[in-house]
């Protein structure tokens, strides 16, 4: 049977990898730091997928990002998803030529839905992960774009209905409120996914320990959970969390 997935997400900004809390970014280390503390050629065996997002807000340098992506993924034989600031089909091709199998689109979902159609026509819908960032305001999940800086002005329910009409392969929902807090995933978000129940769902934001991973993956509406916390799972942290999840009854592949 199809297993669940534990995804590790890296946030990249001009050569550095970032820690995010409620979408505020703090620099942690460069590629060398990452290789020293995670070494994806080995940790690769503890994760089911690696996501790398270029969150640079000024002076995004896509060629440099692509070079770093290549170096990062050279001996990582797991699925790689990349994204951040995708506005053109050529940008998608650059990422796919640098080790990515899939791309994440977030702001373009709202501003250029035609780009999503264009990517799918050429590369198939399975190549596209639709990423939606939400913040709960007065009891309503409001959607944000541009890495959480711009309010879309639509609720999660509306945006998911829109996504249901687009050729996307997966839906990734992140809670801005929980991001980086380590307080656990916001499973209440799952009440809103009725429009996209035919597409695999990834939930992110708030994972601080193995119990949070188990709580997310044991929910039958969730196909994958993602964590981006660079400090929670250093060394063999991911491998240990994975083992705890498997022992806790989550069906994950054994590598």
């Amino acid at each position: 049977m199809l297993t669940k997935r534990l995804i590790f997400t890296l946030l990249y900004d001009g050569g550095s990898f970032m820690l995010s809390r409620n979408f505020r970014l703090q620099k942690i280390g460069d590629l060398d730091w990452l290789e020293e503390n995670y070494g994806f050629s080995t940790v690769g065996y503890a994760i089911d997928e690696l996501v790398v997002i270029d969150v640079s807000r000024q002076n995004r340098n896509t060629p440099q990002f692509c070079e770093d992506l290549k170096r990062l993924t050279r001996d990582c034989f797991a699925p790689i998803t990349a994204g951040g600031g995708i506005r053109t089909l050529e940008h998608v091709h650059q990422l796919l030529r640098s080790g990515a199998d899939k791309v994440v689109v977030n702001t373009a979902l709202h501003d250029q839905p035609e780009l999503v159609e264009e990517i799918a026509a050429e590369l198939g819908r399975q190549c596209i992960v639709a990423s939606i960032d939400v913040q709960k305001i007065n009891g309503v999940y409001q959607v944000f774009k541009n890495h959480g800086t711009v309010k879309v002005g639509e609720s999660l329910d509306h945006v998911l209905l829109k996504c249901a009409g687009l050729p996307v392969g997966e839906i990734h929902i992140e809670s801005i409120d929980r991001d980086g807090t380590g307080n656990g995933l916001d499973l209440e978000i799952l009440e809103f996914i009725k429009h996209v129940k035919d597409v695999p769902l990834i939930l992110m934001g708030g994972i601080g320990n193995a119990d949070h991973i188990i709580a997310g993956l044991k929910d039958n509406r969730v196909d994958a959970v993602a964590t981006g916390n660079l400090l929670n799972f250093m060394g063999d942290g991911l491998a240990r969390a994975r083992e705890l999840a498997i022992n806790g009854g989550v069906i994950l592949p054994k590598f």
């Binding site: 997935r5 690769g44 050279r74 790689i80 590369l123 198939g124 399975q126 590598f255």
Partner: protein
Amino acid sequence: MADNEVVIIDYGMGNLWSVASAVKFLGFIPVVTSDISIVSSAESLILPGVGSFRRAMQELKSASIDQAIFKSLENPKTKLLGICLGMQLLGVSSTEDGFTDGLGLVKNTVTKLAGSNEVSIKIPHVGFNRVQMPKESKLFDQISIDASFYFVHSYAMQILDDFSKYATTTYGQEFVAAIESGQVFGTQFHPEKSQKSGLKVLENFLR
């Protein structure tokens, strides 16, 4: 060509970098190319690919890569591995975006993954899944029966009752996870994305 060179066919469809990295990791020399003279004289060929079947066939035909693949297989020592869409292209046809003829190197057809009245499925099929392996297989030699492989696809190759060796996976329906038919091999999953077990499948093909 040197014995340890592996030609990876570049026709503008998908992630060649990972396939090349995996080939290199296993101690072979990846040659990523769209040059038909190199393809037609290759003895070890990989046809990767993600995306639209129709678009992929157009690309292969317009660059005459299809003919170069046929020519390379005239050499009985040549072996070819199709990965993901690359495996589907080995079939006779696909119903993706209408109806498109494939390379016809195996007799199977490709159709959209479907659930049944009892089981509804999410499309695409994405993630790690197990496969039912054939007995005495080159690709699955020395691979644990509980190994998982990474799949990401919406269309799938149908199983035939022929002399090919099939590995199968069930997701809504049973479909071809891998095929071995003479010189022609294919995997619906991505061996280059399936950690240790995937690398072993790739190594089994290359050796």
